[in-house]
Symmetry: C2
């Protein structure tokens, strides 16, 4: 069977949140039936795997309200605007969250976090040649820095102690491409 | 610095969507300032890497409204209720979307798709010993089945042709644990 694109009849803005905009989409299926889809518009984000000269990786620990627990993640943050360059956003978030900066950022992969209802894209970079700078957290941002080897991070994924999807994807893709090298 | 848990002062339901519930959380920071957080309550989902006897993997292709394009993903779907067993959900979605069933499901990893504002968890299983059954799509679900080797899937991730975070995490974790075996 040839797959058909679903037809979006309309998109209605229903709620403006702190960081998201929620829409109600009216979708017409190929058989003519009508369905409603949730759609969350997100301005996109960047994330960074900061690799120290000895190969260890800088992670950030923070409290996540949506999960009601602390998480260990790669540094990341939303773009300031829909037009901000993803790489500039990555460099900024790296410096703000970890206190290291880098001019050596290489795109590893792009992930889409929640394709059932959200257009968020996260470009994930590998940052090397880190230079000490100054952590500069946003108001309301409380982060500790922790340092791990890639082997430790892979183990934390399979032990279920790191579950954040961007971080899991980043660790496993980095390990495949650069691990033990 | 010792990290503190942020205090949630209140959670207000602000919108009921087709598959999500949106809340406005009032959060008190350690310094006493107040912020508002978006929170999306999601009932959780399961996903499956269906491995054929020859080692190839069954993927599903579908149109995704949130991205306005076709995607290639591992089979997945939401739990029917907040109490549905994740493994039963995985077995059901496998059969419905691919037309194969399996009694041999092994948990690979759990991912959290969007921890900045959503509690969605996806348990990702590896399914083996597949038995032909019958595809049984939900109304409004239009899916084609495609078959790939794990090497092809890894390449599609690094080429940016597979970006869905659960699928990227699943492919890379599966390849690390079982690839070339």
């Amino acid at each position: 069977m040839e797959l058909e694109k679903l037809e979006r009849v309309s998109r209605e803005h229903v709620y403006k949140g702190a960081i998201i905009d929620l829409y109600k989409d009216t979708i017409k299926n190929p058989d003519g039936t009508i369905e409603y889809y949730d759609f969350i518009k997100h301005k996109g984000a960047s994330a960074v795997i900061p690799v120290m000269d000895d190969g260890r990786i800088i992670m950030v620990k923070q409290y996540r309200n949506a999960l009601d627990r602390f998480t260990v993640e790669i540094p990341a943050g939303g773009r300031n605007t829909e037009n901000e360059d993803f790489k500039e956003c990555a460099a900024r978030e790296l410096e703000e969250e970890t206190g290291y900066k880098s001019d050596d950022l290489e795109l590893l992969i792009t992930v889409r976090t929640t394709i059932a209802f959200c257009n968020e894209a996260i470009d994930i970079y590998v940052a090397r040649n880190l230079v000490p700078s100054k952590q500069n957290l946003d108001p309301g941002e409380y982060i500790n820095v922790e340092i791990y080897t890639i082997e430790e991070l892979v183990n934390l994924v399979f032990e279920g102690k790191i579950q954040d999807a961007k971080t899991v994807a980043a660790i496993m893709a980095y390990n495949h491409k650069f691990g033990n090298k």
